[in-house]
Chain length 240, copies 2
DNA sequence: TCAAGGTTAAATGTATACAATATAAGAACC
DNA sequence: GGTTCTTATATTGTATACATTTAACCTTGA
């Protein structure tokens, strides 16, 4: 146990933020992303209760780091803690979803105005894999796989955003709305949803191939628009 | 100590988020906002070390809630904690500031497209007070008062944003850049900075008076643009 | 039978002791 | 005298006991 020649400075890059994190902070970040993903894939559906003690045992830590994660998820609006009751996964109203989509649409346009980034190695293979995964989706509704593909596409789009603030805000807002499909697909054609997702993946791939960030942003924005139109219809029906 | 007829449901609205918070959560929110303000007014300048124990005694709580606050400030990028060293206030690079300003500008335009909100009572008086505070600024540089006016204007603009997500993101990004004046005013005319701030306050007031959200967003965006141009110049000088 | 009140159990929130870690000072050695 | 290793100290990170709060259940009375 002598000096630490090995790992160099005790920092590591991790996640979408790109900020440098110490080892324990990186662990919290991993748990945060894992839980966020589970929430957005409905492993923990809205209304589900997350017991801190259970999560602590599941991740092999004490309640303390778990509480940090839950607090952050609370700031994101994905969970809500109440003393004496528990921490429950939130339900998001259609109106709030639409508001978030407005912001996401504005940011999607901003993607095109930011500095271009050379495509990350393997990004095209990843997108092709997502297309394949789309094609393997049958006629039967498989929301979980749909959600995984959606998250995958989102992650690929993030890689071409050089601006860290734009990346962080986009990521945050995406996960705030990622569960939307579980709410609106009863009112939406499954085939059409899959078709539009597949279409976006292919168009994003082509735009990336010619380093056309503006096109990536617009393609993304267009699909957001179709969801916004649907959301607006739902709200009009409910309101009227 | 019997039943709780008094305060009704144990929730309270607080802060910019508009989310419902329990009593202890509201306390953490208050500490968070207080510390954030102090950081952005340079009561804690970049590089300053925030000792958890000191803050705990200062706010009359234990380290636990203080740690929640510091973690959140860390996610905001305002502080950085390292085990064995301490929690230090960050320095923000000009490049990062410019990236944030790009996003803020995009969101400022989005303000105009959101639902109109009737002016909050007292908002015009508050804006007039800010104008007066501007006029009382002399020729001598008083960055702290300038920062307070700037925060005040920001808070007033937030009140006309009905969309909670847009409000939260705007607030977050504002405080990430709020310290910018302490960095760029050496390169900027003090008189011009005050003049432009005063100008925005008056134009925002007029736009609010005629319920013209689009104008508020554009006025705000225009001032952001002047700062972006300056930032770009600084970056060009440094880079070239 | 129903309602009101008290009791109990369980969850989050807090405080604190302990562990891990990094920095700086000091001692030993060449 | 300079360098390197050790050691001390201060700080954040973790685990855990305790406090506070809520909700459900059970009891008791009319």
């Amino acid at each position: 146990m002598q000096n630490n020649k090995g790992p160099g400075p005790r920092q590591a890059m991790n996640g979408t933020s790109g900020r440098s994190l110490t080892k324990p902070q990186a662990r919290i970040e991993r748990i945060y992303q894992a839980l966020r993903r589970q929430i957005c894939l409905l492993d923990f559906p809205p209304g589900a209760v997350l017991r801190e003690q259970d999560l602590a045992e599941q991740f092999g830590v004490s309640r303390t780091p778990i509480r940090h994660v839950l607090n952050r998820l609370g700031v994101d609006g994905l969970v809500e803690s109440r003393q004496g009751v528990g921490t429950t996964v939130t339900t998001i109203e259609f109106k709030d979803l639409l508001d978030i989509y407005y912001v996401r649409a504005a940011l999607a346009e901003a993607i095109g105005d930011s500095d271009p980034v050379p495509p990350e190695p393997g990004v095209f293979e990843a997108l092709d894999a997502l297309t394949l995964k789309c094609d393997q989706l049958g006629a039967g509704i498989d929301l979980r796989t749909f959600g995984e593909i959606n998250i995958g596409l989102h992650s690929r789009i993030l890689t071409i955003i050089r601006s860290r603030p734009l990346r962080e805000v986009s990521d945050r807002l995406f996960y705030q709305t990622a569960r939307i499909w579980f709410q609106i697909l009863p009112r939406f054609s499954w085939e059409r949803a899959v078709m539009e997702l597949r279409h976006e993946i292919e168009e994003v791939r082509q735009a990336m191939a010619r380093n056309d960030l503006k096109a990536v942003g617009l393609v993304h924005r267009n699909r957001l628009s179709t969801v916004m139109i649907l959301l607006q219809q739902v709200l009009d029906e409910e309101g009227g």
